[in-house]
Structure formats: C-alpha cells, structure tokens
C-alpha cells in the first residue's frame, strides 16, 4: 500500500507539473485528468475507496469532460501554443516558483519532523461509514452545501433560459421590432396561427 501511495503521489505531482508547463491546452487538460486519477489512487491507497471513486466520477468523469468539451470547441491552434510559451518565460514564472519552493520546503520540514510512520496503512473506510458521518455530525454542512448547489442550479437555469427564450422570440418575430416583455410575447404567441401582419396593424 505504501508503494502504491508514493507511486501515485509522484504521478500526481509530475502530471500537475505537466499541466502548468504544457503549451497545448488540450494536452494540458489530459495531464490534469491523469493528475485527478492519480489523486484518486492516493485515496484508494489511503483506504478511502469511496472518496477515490467519487473523485474519478465527479472530477475526472464529469467536470473535466466539460473543460475538455469547451476547450475543444475553441479550436485553439499553433497561435495559442505560441502565446502560452511566451507567457512561460523564466522571468514570469521565476517569482512564483521561488515562493512556492519556500512553501514546499516548509511542508517538507514539517513532514520530516512529524511522525507519519504508520498512517498510510489505515483501515478501509466503507461508503456506509462516510454516509453516517455526513448525515451525523456534519449534517448542517451537507445541507448548506446542498442549498448552495441548488441556488447555483436555479441561477444557471435562469441565465440559460432567458437568453434561449429571447433568441427564439426574436427569430419568430415579424420584421416589426417588439420588446421582449410579457405583453409582446403573449401577443406573438397568440398570433402564431393568425396572419402576423394584421396583428402588427392592431398594435
């Protein structure tokens, strides 16, 4: 298990480096997917298969698909790669790299100083145990997260809906310009079967 942990951890770090230094956007995304799968493997090695499976299902299987989807639609070519490599000049990344290096050093010192010996071989946590924890001591957090997600869902639905509706509305309209308010919409819907020009005159 320890070997599995360290191997997947190394893969995760290397893949994430690949994401940062990659010049081709889609190739960078592939590295990010590999990185997420490696993190899932870390969860498996730590004895939390439920978290590992969810990591793959939610992040690698759903969120990253949308990322890849959008980036593929953008049709980024050689120009984007050149722009990216222009941004990756040493002058740009030297500062952040040094600062992150200091943080890494602090982390390493803490890890070496602390006793982390037997922690990798933990007990395997079942899905039931995770559920009992989520709906026991952490119930309020779960409910708050659910409300936040619901709010996001409603907002997304509202944003997408009004735009799509307006578009359909304007396409369906006759040459005369009409505002997209409730009255105009009702009128145009009513007149779908009628002669549109007579409805235009009646206004």
């Amino acid at each position: 298990m320890e070997i599995a942990f360290y191997l997947s951890a190394v893969v995760a770090v290397l893949a994430t480096l690949g994401v940062v230094t990659g010049r081709h956007p889609v190739h960078a995304l592939l590295y990010l997917i590999v990185s997420l799968i490696a993190v899932a493997m870390v969860f498996f090695a730590l004895g939390a298969p439920f978290a590992g499976a969810l990591e793959i299902i939610v992040y690698a299987g759903a969120i990253m698909v949308l990322f890849v989807f959008v980036v593929m639609m953008l049709n980024l070519g050689e120009a984007a790669a050149q722009q990216e490599s222009a941004w990756l000049r040493p002058r740009t990344w030297l500062g952040p790299a040094v600062l992150s290096g200091i943080l890494l050093l602090v982390l390493l010192v803490t890890l070496i100083g602390a006793d982390v010996g037997g922690r990798i071989q933990g007990d395997t946590l079942t899905a039931k145990a995770v559920g009992t924890l989520l709906f026991g001591p952490y119930l309020i957090v779960v409910e708050l997260a659910a409300m936040l997600l619901l709010a996001a869902l409603v907002a997304a639905s509202h944003l997408g809906r009004s735009e799509a509706h307006d578009e359909a509305h304007t396409v369906r309209q006759v040459p005369g310009k009409r505002t997209a308010d409730g009255r105009g919409r009702a009128a145009s819907e009513r007149s779908l079967g009628d002669d549109t020009s007579s409805e235009e005159n009646s206004r």
């Binding site: 690698a60 299987g61 759903a62 698909v65």
Partner: protein, 328 residues
C-alpha cells in the same frame, strides 16, 4: 513443489479467472458483430451475412482478417497522441468494468465494496474516448459527433447513477455480490421497475446504441467521431461498442434480474442466458425503432427520465424508512 502453496494457488486461480473473463468479454463482443447482423436480417425479413461458413459463422473471421490487414492510417492533420489514445480508452475502460461483475458464486474478478461506483467511474472515463477521438481527427464531422456524444453521455450519466440508487438502498451496499444476494427471493426488477426502465434507457444511451446513436448517425455525420479511423483502431471502437452492450446487459442481469439466481440450471447458465436475452433485446431495439432527433433525445433525458428517477428514489427511500425496524 514447495513453492506451490495455497496462496500461490489462489493467485493462479484468480489470474486464470480474470483471463477467462477478459477473453470471454472480448470474444463475445467480436461474436456479436456477426450475431447482430444475422438477427437484424431475421427481424427485418432479409438474409444478413450467410455466405462464409455454415450460417455465416466464419464471417467474423473474414471481418477480423479485413480489419487486421487494412492499412492503419493516421491522417497527417490529426493529433497523433490523442488519435492513438482514444480507441485504447474506449476498449480498456469497458473491459475493466467487467472486473466488478459477479458471474457465479465463485467466479468474478474483484469483490470491491464500491463495485457499482467503479462501473460509474469507468463509464465516466469512457467519455474521453469519443471526445478525444472526435477532436484529434481534425474533421468537423468527427468533432460534431464527439460533441453530441459527450453531451448525451453526460446528460444520461446524471441519472444512470440515480436510477441505481434505489437498488443500492434496498440492498444496503454498493457491493455487487451483496446486491445479488439481496435478490434471493424477489428480483429487484419488481420493486424497482422504474429504476430498471431508466437504467435500461441510460445504458443504451451511454453505449451509443440505436436509437441513441446520433453521435455516429451515418446519414448526417458520415460516421461521427470515428470517421477518420481505419484498420484495428476503428476495430477497437467497433468491438468496444459490442463489449459495452454485453457489459450493460450483464449489469442489468446482476442488478435487476437476480444475477445467477434461478431454478434447476447451474448459476453460470442462468447468468449467460439472462445476459443473452438482453443482448438480443438491444439488437431488437435497433431493428425496430427509428432514430429520434438529437434535441428530442436530450429533452427526453432531462425532462422525463431524470424526474422519474428522482421520484423513484424518493418513494423507495420513504418505503424503506416506513418498513425498516424502528430505530434502524
């Protein structure tokens, strides 16, 4: 033979099982390419491939020879890495899913207690095959096919998980063996009928089978995401689709039809028989149904199947709470 300890024997048996199941899955996928065409011929009142060998059985051999010896051409405008990677993902993610399916009480590769989630994870990874294949081809029809496929798969994956949560709640476990064991008396298709219906629809959609094969609709998109593929790389997509059919059929049997349970016959026969019936059903659907429009497919998923699964889950949960012993 001092090294032949019981432990070694167990490892050897597990390896043997895994190999047999792997080869069985690939071979049944290959066999299906011929069986499907014959069945389609039967149902559509025509012959199908019946020239090579008795009843056209050797057609598989002829097709395999053609696929293997055809020039494996990578278009110069394609992204090589992704072009080669895509068919491998298509095949591997589906084959890995067979790992969690218990075939008989003694047979099955892995007994994970997150068995069902492993299948969802692999189904999630499988989307990349189509997405990468379509994008790396550098062909607009392939890209359109990949777009459709990923949008469709994402929408249907939302409730493929939800439709099975009723089964998980009733069995009290994600473990496939425990789910089968919970169906000793009543198969889950009876109490979870709506879950079964929505899982069937979602399973067809995730494998891009007719009538959900808009991603590869040949009339409008040439051949969708694998239009630039040839030779064995195309063959991997092709066989992968049939492996997907076998996988979804085997999952339906395990989750809703009691797995290996059945009177008189040995467990393995029951499992294979039930799976074969569902594979036949998949083919019958292709023979019988017209292809709906793409936006109809999407709105059917979001507006019919998703609410249905949510209501099903809600009712199942309420009933379990009502009938479970107090304080449980």
């Amino acid at each position: 033979m001092s090294w032949w300890t019981p432990q070694v024997e167990a490892i050897a048996f597990a390896l043997f099982q895994a190999l047999v199941i792997l080869i069985g899955a690939v071979l049944s996928g290959a066999l299906l390419t011929m069986v499907e065409r014959r069945l389609l011929g039967l149902w559509q009142d025509r012959h199908g491939p019946n020239r090579v060998g008795p009843f056209g059985v050797l057609q598989i051999l002829a097709d395999m020879l053609k696929i293997l010896f055809k020039e494996d051409w990578i278009p110069p405008f394609a992204d090589r890495t992704f072009f080669v990677l895509a068919p491998a993902i298509a095949m591997a993610s589906l084959l890995l899913s067979f790992m969690v399916i218990p075939i008989t009480p003694n047979w099955g590769v892995a007994d994970l207690h997150i068995g069902l989630l492993f299948f969802f994870a692999m189904a999630g990874i499988n989307v990349y095959a189509v997405l990468f294949g379509g994008w790396s081809s550098g062909n607009k029809y392939a890209l359109l096919g990949a777009m459709r496929a990923s949008a469709q798969t994402l929408s249907y994956e939302v409730f493929i998980g939800l439709s099975l949560m009723g089964v998980v709640a009733m069995a009290g476990s994600f473990n496939m063996r425990e789910i089968v064991a919970a169906q000793e008396t009543v198969w889950f298709i009876v109490p979870q009928f709506f879950g079964f219906c929505t899982f069937l629809v979602a399973g067809i959609a995730v494998t891009h089978r007719h009538p959900f094969d808009q991603p590869e609709a040949e009339q409008e998109l040439a051949d969708g995401y694998h239009v630039e593929y040839s030779g064995m790389k195309w063959g991997m997509f092709f066989i992968g689709e049939y492996v997907g059919i076998v996988l979804v059929s085997a999952l339906i049997v395990t989750l809703f039809l009691g797995g290996w349970h059945g009177p008189w016959l040995p467990p393995i026969v029951w499992f294979l028989l039930k799976t074969a019936v569902f594979v036949g059903f998949f083919v019958l659907l292709r023979a019988a149904l017209p292809r709906p429009r793409y936006d109809a497919v999407m709105s059917f998923g979001w507006k019919v199947c998703l609410p249905l699964t949510l209501i099903n889950l809600l009712v199942t949960g309420a009933l379990i709470l009502v009938f479970s012993p107090a304080g449980g």
